[in-house]
């Protein structure tokens, strides 16, 4: 059991759902390591927001990226060293607002990365503005008269974009979450985990989620079913919505030859002029 805790003081609000994610990720990483993945081969990237602070609390290598760009950063890491398992932490503003494009393209390409999206339904770190996942009517500091937009459904949006692994879990179901994260990282191809993450300061959804969440165990047999479950207004279904084996981006574009050292490059050029 590796203690993956850094020495950095944790500044999440007491009761924040992010603690659940941190705990679950640690569990998942330990399981991966136990099963043979060298810890040194697990790296992370994160965006900017409360979610991004996990970078400071998790003692593994990685890049604390720009707001919205952590998946692009992660894609570069993965392409450069396909041996690394890359886990990206994004906020709902981060991954589906500022960085929406990168999220959907990572899914479309099926690059072998994992995106863990902290869905707290608002912009936490900037003190509670409405996010792309805030419900209609949400009163935030930038929408004092109420949000008029209809939130995206991340599960179906990511399925639509082509993500080959799509799942949802909840920070208060740590062992479920840890298992989902483990599966996501193990999955070859792009994996997306929507994590329902209550924000005690600006969007306290604990009782809503505690009431409504329900874990399912079988991957829905077809897309229509998955979509219905994802959009269910009564029950919030937690589990894996899609898991498909498709060729991953980095495999498909690999060069036939390895990167040459500079002397070999010089020889190749000399030969060609």
């Amino acid at each position: 059991m590796h203690d993956l805790t850094s020495r950095k003081e944790n500044t999440w609000c007491i009761g924040c759902g992010n603690f659940g994610i941190l705990g679950a990720v640690k569990n998942a990483i330990n399981r991966l390591v136990d099963e043979g993945t060298p810890l040194a081969n697990i790296v992370m990237s994160s965006g900017i927001g409360c979610h991004g602070k996990i970078f400071d609390y998790l003692n593994i290598s990685g890049i604390y990226g720009l707001h919205g760009r952590a998946l692009a950063t992660a894609s570069g890491i993965k392409l450069a060293n396909p041996n690394l398992k890359v886990i990206t932490f994004g906020g709902d503003g981060d991954s589906l607002g500022e960085g929406l494009e990168h999220t959907l393209f990572a899914a479309k390409r099926n690059i072998d990365l994992t995106l863990i999206m902290h869905n707290n339904g608002n912009y936490g770190l900037t003190t509670g503005q409405a996010s792309p996942l805030s419900p209609s009517g949400f009163i935030g500091i930038s929408t004092p008269m109420g949000n008029v937009e209809i939130p995206f459904t991340p599960i179906t949006l990511l399925m639509e974009a082509g993500a080959s692994f799509v799942a949802r879990s909840y920070t208060a179901r740590i062992s479920h979450l840890a298992d989902i994260i483990y599966q996501a990282v193990q999955h070859k191809g792009f994996s997306f985990v929507e994590v329902l993450q209550p924000c005690v300061s600006y969007n306290n959804t604990y009782s809503l989620y505690n009431d409504r969440c329900h874990i399912f165990n079988e991957i829905p047999q077809d897309e229509d079913m998955a979509r219905k479950m994802a959009k269910d207004k009564e029950i919030i279904h937690l589990g894996v919505y899609r898991k498909e084996q498709l060729p991953s981006y980095e495999e498909q574009i690999a060069s036939r030859i390895e990167s040459l050292d500079r002397r070999a490059r010089l020889e190749l050029l000399k030969a060609s002029v």
């Binding site: 081969n41 692009a72 450069a80 060293n81 494009e101």
Partner: protein, 559 residues
Amino acid sequence: MKTDIFTCLVGGKAGEGVKKAAQVIATLAVKQGLFVFQTNDYQSLIKGGHNFSVVSISQSEIYNCYHKANLLISFDERSVERHMEDMAVGALHFCDIADRKHDNLIALPLKDLIKKHYPDGGSASLSAIAIFSAIAGISKEVMNSMINSSFKHYKAENVAFASEIFDLVVQANTHSITKLARSKQQPGKCYTGNQLIALGAWLGGLDFYFSYPMTPASSILHYLAKLRDSHGVQAIHAESELAAINMAIGAAFAGKRSGVGSSGGGFALMQEAFSMAGMVESPLFCVLSSRPGPATGVSTYTAQEDLYFALNQGHGEFARIVASPDSFSRAFTLAQELVELAWTTQSPAVLLTEKHLSESSMSIKLPLPETIDVIPITEKANAEYQRYLITKCGVSPLAFPGVESSEDNAVIKWNSNEHSENGFRTDVAQNIVKMKDKRNRKLQTIYDATQKYQRVSIYGSGKSIVFAYGSTALELREAQKYHEFQLVVPIYLEPFPREELAKYQECEVIVVEHSSQANFARFLKEKLNVKIKKSILRYDGRHFSSLMLAEAIKETEDA
């Protein structure tokens, strides 16, 4: 115009193979031991409109194209009209019979012959090659073998078509024109500026090039993409420029030399991540190839409007390198240098250039080094590793995750927030100061590191001191054939090569640039307190005529 210079202009619609014709003509000339400069004037459209390409050929090195052509080949009426004024004394102007609107045109049944040889439709491209070959005294065999190696499809038809035109031109035997003498020199090969940048960067170790297409930088992406399996390099067309640059930083983190390229508009989108490269201390190679701005501007023409923008990219204060190649060979060597410097100083390094260099071609001998000293820059890392260790030179040991040289317990953290030595975020006052001071110490370190490369070019001598940068230097070197002056070219712009240029402090100088606001002159005033005797500006997107430059400089002296 020097008598040993021969200029051929091909004009026609986009899609008719104007550019291709000029490129093959240039290659043919090089095969004869001649030097060439080739450039293309085209618009942002795929078919139609009016394009023209120029090849200037000489027995000695030639640095620019000429505006007056000795041989003009017009594929359509619009070209005929447009280029009547571009005829040098004694020039030959070929066109299709239907377009023969002027007496001094030589008409050939171009369109009919295309129909005859290519019933499914073909392009005029080859006719230009044949006309040139016949006029320049190149044998039919040489011509045909060149055509065979340059065009993949319709090989038999091509040869028949070109041969028939060749014969017609020989028969026409119109006026005498100086045949291009075969020379014994070795002008090398024709390369576009972008090819040289791509090859140079690759030789510098570039493994990944991330880009989103934007003229005039796109052809770097296209060129490298083709080299993937032969050269082991990756050229990735990302979803946007923002994606490209963040990917490049990610790749650098994982240990691979990476770069990005675009024009001004694309770099405008990359500013936040450019700043991030400064903060996380990511090596980052960048190619900024300019076109007239602002905004979308004029996408297929040349400009040097982005100087201050290029120098001041990204919010916040951090060290960076900006340099601009003053020749085609330099495009190759500078790209190597900048990849190397980006990695040794862990900083963003920008190769600033223009459409005129990026998309023109010149015959050069690739300046290959004998050998390469590969300086290892990867450090071993263990549990004590600190990504941002405070050092005297400002550069911290660089290690990569999940590789042999890093122990399993090494934690390597790059952070876009202000951070402590270990890479964790900080907002403690003293830590901020320490880290900023560390990064600022790189200013000197970079200055010293650039010292091992040529930072300034000085060409010729004469009464006037003329300053320029980038490919404007080429336009001026050609002008030196007509008037003597001293041409001073800072290759490195940031850090500014103050030692080499100290002697020009307070001097009276002429500044030549492709800017409407004389920004390079402003820059030199700030850096060297020079007195600007004259600013020679061209900002219509076209390159300078070297003859006119010589004239303008001479005038300043006579005044």
